[in-house]
Amino acid sequence: MVGRVFLGVWGAGILVVGASLMAGHVVSLPVPRATDSRLRASLAAGPGVVKGRWSAHHVLYQSCGCSQRVLAHLLTRRARPDLVETVVYVRDPAAADATEPATVRAQAERAGFGFETSTPAELERRYAVESAPFLLVGDGSGAVRYAGGYTARSGSTQIEDGDIIDGLQAGRQVGALPVFGCAVSSRVQKAIDPLGLKYARGGI
């Protein structure tokens, strides 16, 4: 009897844990509105940003697998010459590896990207962004032309930043893709991980 009760508890617990973990993967994370003034301000504040030139900010989170895949993609394709691209690397305060941002910076700069680091709190304050990976594109006039995710589906390997930028530069209307990845702000983390399994310190 005790065994059966235990199994019942275990089964229920496993279901909740699984659902909780899975939610983080499949939920589309909140993105700031394109009209948010903080976004406009951040477009003008990036390293090497030149007024009148198209610019793109790639907001990537240190502890986010999806961000890492976007980063790998960016490093592979290297920075485009037709716009100023900046990697905004959000450090994870709980991350064990404190040297990683320096490594990433070196890689990014070698690939032609501007690089700046941030913290989750600073990110929210400066960019109004609470999740990653997040793409912000401006046309040099100070207007936000794109604010959204990189992929059309969760877990997709089809990173569409190139198409997005191409489309925007071609004058087409490009809809914002959902952000599939990780919550950066504690608010969103609590929202999608109420059990604290993924984002809490030592979480799984």
């Binding site: 089964g11 699984g18 993967h25």
Partner: protein, 677 residues
Amino acid sequence: MKRLISYLVLPVEISAFERQYLARMNRIALIFFFCHIPVFIGVAALAGTSPTRAAILTLLALIGPAVAYKTLQNPRHLSVVFGFTAMCMGGILVHIGQGSMQIEMHFYFFVLIALLAVFANPLAIVTAAVTVALHHLTLYLLLPRSVFNYDASIWAVVVHFVFVILESVAACFVARSFFDNVIGLEKIVQSRTNALSDRNRDMRLVLDNVGQGFLTIEPNGTVSAERSAIAARWVGGYVPGKKIWEHLGELDSAGADWFRVAWDSIADDVLPLDMSIDQLPRRWTAGKTTFSLEYRPLIVDGRLTQMLLVMSDVSAQLEREQSEIEQRDFMRLFQCLLKDKKGLLEFFSEADDLVSKIVTPEVTGPELRRLVHTLKGNCALFGLSALAAFCHDLESNLLDAGGAMTGSKREQLGRIWGLFASNLRSLLGSDRADRVEVDQTEYAAVLDALDGNAAREEIALRIKTWQFETARTRLTRIAEQTRAIGSRLGKGSLNVVIEPNDVLLFPESWSAFWSSFTHAIRNAVDHGIESPEERLAVGKPREGQIRLTTKLLDDELWVEIADDGRGIAWNLVRERAAAAGLPHESREALVEALFHDGLTTKGEISEFSGRGIGMGAVRAICRKMGGSVQITSTEGKGTCLSFRWSNVHDRLDALVLGPISSPTIENQTQEAEGHLQ
């Protein structure tokens, strides 16, 4: 719905085979899932996720099946736990395998659902499917938007759902089929075995409660273990290797060797099976109990595989039949008494004499056989079936035993005869044979002779003849018996003609002859007279004719019996005589062979004839009385058997009575033709 549930939920009973199979499969499944730990750590490392996290999550998922493995007694329940675990493992894999292969990690779910069919339990698959559903439900409760991720439409969710359902349905079908046709096969066999056992038990109940005993015998004579309760009670329990004749020999050892020899002919398979079975005994006696034995060969592919022996205790039946026969015999006795008291008394006297000789231990061999045969014939003539049947069996035993009779048989005969004698005495009361009866005509004739002053010696001689029997009376009695035999042998009504010729015979002198004369009568009827159909076919009258004659010619007494039957088949006699090693070259030799004990032209032994003893018996008596026998026979025309004695005048035991030489009685004797010779 009920059918669906009964399809998905297996019957409660778990066979030993299924338990054993599931125990093995569950053990393999546990090992399989524990093997996930290093694999998932590797996947996490490759996918760039946390190996530690992978290990922790996998171990967490394995706690359940590990506990279930230790605590659950029902192996099917453990399989269900594995169904749940499989889906949890899939979730972990997708979680830790995020990245470029994350979508492909979902194959795990479909593979595992299919693999769950090895448990042959649809519930394990249903559990997996329900786990997935519950996972999404929980997901929805936690984060409603996550179910419809990337803003997928409801139809995208439906597509996922349909695929899982489709595979689950297929896997359930496979699992159930696996259970029904493989895992459950043993159960089906067991179920049918149980049903057969039930039927066998019921059948056994029936067999054990019928009056017959059933045994099966192997071709080598060994009695199988299967036997009904009553058979076990009669012949004992199963003893490996024990032969049927050993079992029966414990009841009565006398026939055990016979049984063994007869069974050997079955085992040798030389003779036709039916013929071999006919050699087996039909009756077996154990003390006062008599069993009838029936044999039913069990043939498979033309070969005897077993013999079913059906034993029945027929003691009560035999006793009843015996009682009925005795009752019938008693009635016949009564009828005979009313009809021919003198004849019956003579028969009794003769038969009593025969019995007293038969039960004498010194009488053995051919003489004993003739006496028994004569007694049988006389009993049959008077319709005493029980005695005749006993004598018939006695004759068979004598042949089997080489002419010797056991003391028990003598006692038995004495007992049966004693019963008959007792019955007869009760009928007679004080009306015994030791008196002289005279009919009114004779009485008046003698009285008149006295009144007419006839010679004293003549009157005295006349009175002396009152103790004589007229041949007419004797032949009339024999004629009636002859007709009775003809009727019983299917020879139709016989025309029996008597020609007594006023012969008188002194009973005490001739009783032995008349007693054995029955053999001549039975031979004439049974061997000589054809069936009505045969007679008509050869142009003879339907009724066979038998002529019985007595006559005194000069000083010689003739007793003849002549029939118009088929005559003696001399060729057949020659053949049988040759086979018996007897002279057979001349007619005289063949006639002599006819009187030889054991030679018969009849194929079958009946209550009346067929043993080849009667002719020898009647000739022996005839010769003992100083007479001779002549046979004349023409094939197709008939046979005449003529017994002759000379010098009867001197012996004064046969005469023809004329009228007393007195005028008053001269015309009163109608059939007398001459004076006392």
